[in-house]
């Protein structure tokens, strides 16, 4: 099968591989601890760990976009901020 029309690059492949690994990791977590660990955090509505992953990924995308628009094209600090944000979401949301 020829996938050149998808215009793959190493960074985008790495990005999607990371997403895939996250989903696999979440599935394994769900298998080990079923039920999604629902709880009410600082946002005052119930979230499962899947919701928390979604909030983390969506927020990380906006953190990177905001950094790109307001600071500049070097996104390593934005990535670090996104990781801190994701840890915060999993801990407190």
């Amino acid at each position: 099968m020829n996938f050149t029309w998808m215009a793959w690059t190493a960074p985008t492949a790495l990005f999607f591989l990371t997403i895939l690994l996250l989903l696999v990791g979440m599935s394994v977590w769900e298998y080990l601890v079923p039920g999604g660990s629902p709880r009410k955090g600082i946002l005052q509505f119930e979230t499962t760990r899947g919701d928390r992953l979604f909030i983390s990924l969506l927020g990380s995308a906006f953190i990177n976009l905001a950094w790109l628009g307001l600071v500049g094209p070097n996104l390593w600090w934005a990535l670090a901020l996104a990781v801190v944000y994701a840890v915060g979401v999993f801990r407190f949301v």
Binding site: T4, W5, M6, A7, W8, T9, P11, T12, F15, F16, Q44, F45, E46, F54, L58, A61, F62, L65, L68, G69, P73, L75
Partner: protein, 288 residues
């Protein structure tokens, strides 16, 4: 009751997963790949990194189109949701009026988008259109080709005409599912018409209203065909919404990299707004 776990059920979900992969995941991956590269066709690509994202985020053209889109969606929701509820509340619940009203309500939904655009393009014309001609006859200076306010009014009116029925039908479905016992209890308590609406009908419609708000927000935020047919994004850029701008960029200018970057930002905004709507409405539902 204890949940029954059966992993064979995954095989039943498999066709949907394959369908979603081909219709959404693979195209999305391709768009992400395009967004970090430049191409002049012939399947040749050059690495561009985050340049296209920076370009889009610093372009006033993008922010203007986004602003127009948000205002449009806000106006659409502000008109269609209350109007849909009002019509649904006043539709007959028994007798021959029910099928008549349902068919009438369903009619606009059956008309394809481009036909709706063509209908309103002709309808609003000052020379041959009924609306344009009638407004001119009573002395209203209306011309959607020349005046941005008229173009906006036409596009909004067209969307309201096309899609309020969907809200009506959803709300009506919610209303007819309310058992008569609720109304009887309200009558015994001497509840006013407003109290019946506020404490019986509105809570019972909450779920369908959530669907209506989500569908209308997503549809209005992604609107393309109707305004494109009626105004072509004009006069000037006054009705150029994000989708129209995106198509101009991708197909008109063949700037596939910037268009892909814009698509991703557009997608993220829709995802965020839909999630916010969904969360606010479902969490208030859980609290009730």
């Amino acid at each position: 009751m204890e949940k029954t776990w059966n992993n064979k059920a995954w095989f039943l979900v498999l066709p949907v997963l394959v369908l979603v992969a081909f219709s959404a995941v693979i195209p999305l991956m391709t768009v992400v790949n395009y967004s970090v590269q430049d191409t002049f066709g012939n399947n040749e690509f050059f690495w561009a990194g985050t340049d296209w994202f920076s370009q889009i985020l610093s372009s006033s053209r993008f922010w203007d189109a986004l602003g127009r889109n948000l205002i449009f969606s806000f106006i659409i929701l502000a008109i269609e949701i209350p109007l849909g509820i009002f019509i649904a509340l006043n539709m007959p619940k028994h007798g021959i009026g029910v099928p008549v009203c349902l068919v009438l309500m369903a009619l606009p939904l059956l008309i394809p988008w481009n036909v709706v655009g063509t209908i309103w393009q002709v309808f609003g014309r000052v020379d041959i259109g009924l609306l344009g001609h009638a407004l001119e006859a009573i002395g209203v200076d209306y011309n959607y080709v020349r005046n941005p306010a008229d173009a906006w009014a036409t596009v909004i009116l067209m969307d309201v005409w096309h899609w309020t029925s969907l809200v009506v039908l959803l709300c009506y479905a919610g209303l007819v599912s309310i058992p008569d016992a609720y109304y009887q209890a309200a009558k015994i308590d001497g509840a006013s018409r407003w109290a019946v609406f506020r404490y019986i009908q509105l809570p019972k419609m909450k779920r369908v209203l959530l669907i209506a708000v989500l569908l209308r927000f997503m549809d209005s935020f992604m609107i393309y065909t109707e305004p494109f047919v009626v105004t072509g994004g004009g006069p000037g850029n006054s009705t150029t919404f994000l989708s129209i701008d995106l198509v101009k960029m991708a197909i008109g200018q063949f700037d596939l990299g910037p268009a892909a970057a814009m698509s991703i930002i557009y997608f993220l905004i829709i995802l965020l707004m839909s999630w916010v709507f969904y969360t606010v409405m479902t969490s208030s539902d859980a609290d009730a």
